[in-house]
Amino acid sequence: MLNLLLTRLRSSRPDHRQRWDGVGEVPDGSQAHRRRWLPRRLALAALPLLAAAAVAGCGSSADGGGVETTASKPSRGGTIQYGHLQEPPCLINTWVQTGYLSRQFLDGLVSVDGKGKFYPWLATSWKVSKDGKTYTFELKPNVKFTDGTPFDAKAVKANFDAWLDAKRWTYNMYVGYHVANVLDEVKVTGPLEVEIKLKEPHDLLSVLSQYAFGIISPKTLAGSQANGCEKPVGTGGFIVEKWNRGKDVVLKRNPDYNSAPGNAKHQGPAYVDGVVWKFLKDDTLRYGSLRTGESDVIYEVPGASWADAKKRYAILQHVTGGVPVRLALETQNGPFKDVRVRKAFGYASDRRKAVETVFRGAAPYNGNGALSAGSPEHVEALEHAYDHDPAKAAELLDEAGWTQKNQDGIRVKDGKPLTIRIVYSPGNNVTNDDVQVLQIIQDQAKQVGFDVQLKPVTQAGLWAGEHHGPGEWDAEPWYWVARTAEILHVIWAPASEFGGTPNGNNPGGYEDPKTWALIEEADRTVDVKKRTALYQQAQRRIVETDALVLGLRPLTVNLAVGPKLRDVWLSPAIGEPVFTDAYFAK
């Protein structure tokens, strides 16, 4: 909504050549332009006031815009104290938590808003060939990496080469999963022009708007891993000054910043002097530091403090798309080999009420286990696919042959009890609140005759495959952050796509050729409506027909903003916090 207002205001001004129909042009960052921009800034600053009234009624708006109450002129200066939770092992990798941080110093090629409209960023314009297989990007001129290297087509190619080379430390598995099978070649066709050729049509723009595609300086890429992890260089609004391990990352303002995305609130360098991105792992402490003012804004408000936070602070919430936190069911071994038992487990517990009670609003329920409500192709009806129905669960279990019960009330078949082992890693793929939900599921499923056992593993244990051998687990929670249903091919691609190695992103192991055919076709479809319909059919097969996943909640980005800070917003791609437009109110 805010962007629509911006659009109208901007297009009415004669000295800017701008057509915001997806193939737009952004004023370059030259000095002349900057001087002309200055008076406009005041006008732009008044926008929040206009937008506030409009936005106020919408609650958390689709493009993740900030909640503004009073307008103030953006003032220069101040350092944002930001309290984050997870600390990454390296400042450049594929973890979404790292992605939030790298968004501060890296820019992407294209940006996107909550409606799916793409905006220029480091790419000022693009053309797609009729067959949908060739994308030609015009890159923004006069942009420099903060180490002095110029940003150009060669830099973009260097990035792609680095991401897809398994032998280098820069190897980016996220990029690999999304495009490796579909990418044909990346060609430099001019100093500021790049051509990306695909083997088949694919929603490349959406993929490129995601966090792992931030453009890194070729010097960093060519350098050592130690250096790249500690002090990576990009073109972004902030520069990594120092990483104090276990404590914080100190970011300072990039005074020459001229490559803000098209849907940013302003172009040009950040208003603040810098951001201290702190790692406050303890929930009580993190929220406490906001209460005492030691932090200006914090991430991940604990569920316990959600009500209090809503009363005191402005809350930004983004429901991330992609795969929500859901239970993936093991289909190759154990009781879940039978689809009826899988469905029964879905009906056996009231996951909706559990999530709502425990999270208290910090995260909504997402019953559609295949896709988060944050993605545009989400099928709403699947939210009720397995609403709590113990009678139905009992019926299905009887049908599947689990008719006898032992003295603890657990169903038995052929002498074996109906044991379901849920393997999870607290603090890693689930939060403490998620663990509460699992315990509720455990208790409720017992009424129907399931013996649910919870098996926590440490982070290292999880990634070393502990308790994950065949026959050792029956369900596990997982999520995968992405913008759209394009993520489905990453999760459900069969082993044949990987030369026979089972797809690690589909731990349950079920391969439905009909579903894959739908997904493959959807990926290739250029027409958005047709594509959406195909993805929706795929979701229905995954959830209703095959009952492969049980939804819990989407990954949400919650920011609580203190009273002094304004204009923090969450990028609609995957909810990354953006601070280049933020400023301290006087």
Binding site: D283, D350, G427, V435, I440, Q444, L454
Partner: protein, 300 residues
């Protein structure tokens, strides 16, 4: 107490009954109030550990989403948690596991300590030197770190916690046992027994062992409280027993983020730990006092 053996307050043989009762009452009255209270508390904890259903007011695992996060009241003595489970019943039910961990790990530590300490205290110079070095190596590992390491290898769980905390706290006991045995070995009555010609095995059995072990009773009791605190530390770091087990440490870990909103989640299990440790120590020290005549409490 059999009627056959004479009691020191001489009553004419054959007149037991009320006199014995009066003796018992006199003994009881001489016990300080604090110790009596602690004994009652301990008894309650024991009942909670062995037959929790006697004390529980609700099913500790039954979730009730409508009753989420209620403060302490008549129907829920300690309030309820996020899933609506009764906290009092959970604390009671968790007693068994927590006590098992505390007693178990202190037991493991004591066994290791005894083995090492006796070897060092009673063995020759070289054995003493070797074992002492080994004890020093164990000491060089901060207890929680050693426990962390073992838990990381074998995974979280009740057995691992017991072994981990036990091994981690054992060097202190080993040193103490060694010291005791060294001292007793050279004591007067042992020399006397040796002079009389008793075989070494008999000397060890009758004189050295009982006298050396006796002072350790209070250490053991103090150690139980400390072990429970260590185990709950592991649970706090996310390496404790698997839910929904209401082990006290796990309850403390789960209740942390609710300290301001639902203080009862954090306060009650912590109070249980402290109360138990207090009671067990008071009783332990009293027992030692009676056995020894004075109390010398040493640190694990």
């Amino acid at each position: 107490m059999s009627t056959a053996s004479p009691s020191f307050d001489e009553a004419p043989a054959g007149t037991g009954g009320p006199r014995r009762g009066a003796v018992a009452w006199a003994h009881l009255r001489s016990v300080p109030v604090g110790v009596l209270l602690s004994s009652v508390v301990l008894l309650l904890f024991l009942v909670a550990a062995l037959v929790p259903s006697l004390l529980e007011t609700h099913d500790p695992f039954a979730t009730d989403l409508a009753a989420s996060l209620q403060s302490p009241s008549g129907s829920h003595l300690f309030g309820t948690d996020q899933s609506g489970r009764d906290v009092f019943s959970r604390v009671v039910h968790g007693t068994g596991q927590s006590l098992l961990i505390g007693l178990g790990s202190t037991g493991v530590a004591l066994v290791i300590g005894l083995v090492l300490g006796i070897a060092a205290g009673l063995g020759g110079r070289w054995t003493d030197a070797g074992v002492s070095r080994f004890i020093d190596v164990l000491f060089a590992f901060p207890t929680l770190f050693l426990a962390l390491l073992l838990v990381a290898i074998f995974g979280p769980g009740i057995t691992t916690t017991i072994v981990a905390v036990g091994v981690g706290t054992s060097p202190g006991y080993a040193r103490m046992v060694r010291g005791q045995f060294l001292a007793v070995r050279d004591a007067g009555y042992v020399e006397a027994a040796r002079a009389v010609g008793h075989p070494p095995s008999r000397i060890v059995r009758q004189h050295i062992f009982p006298n050396a072990i006796r002072p350790l009773v209070a250490i053991f009791t103090l150690g139980v409280g400390q072990s429970i605190a260590f185990a709950s530390g592991l649970a706090y770091l996310g390496l404790g027993v698997a839910p929904p087990a209401p082990e006290w440490g796990a309850l403390l870990d789960a209740g942390r983020q609710y300290v301001t909103e639902a203080w009862w989640l954090e306060l009650m299990p912590g109070a249980a730990i402290v109360l138990f440790a207090l009671a067990v120590t008071v009783v332990g020290r009293h027992v030692q006092e009676r056995l020894e005549g004075n109390v010398k409490v040493r640190i694990p």
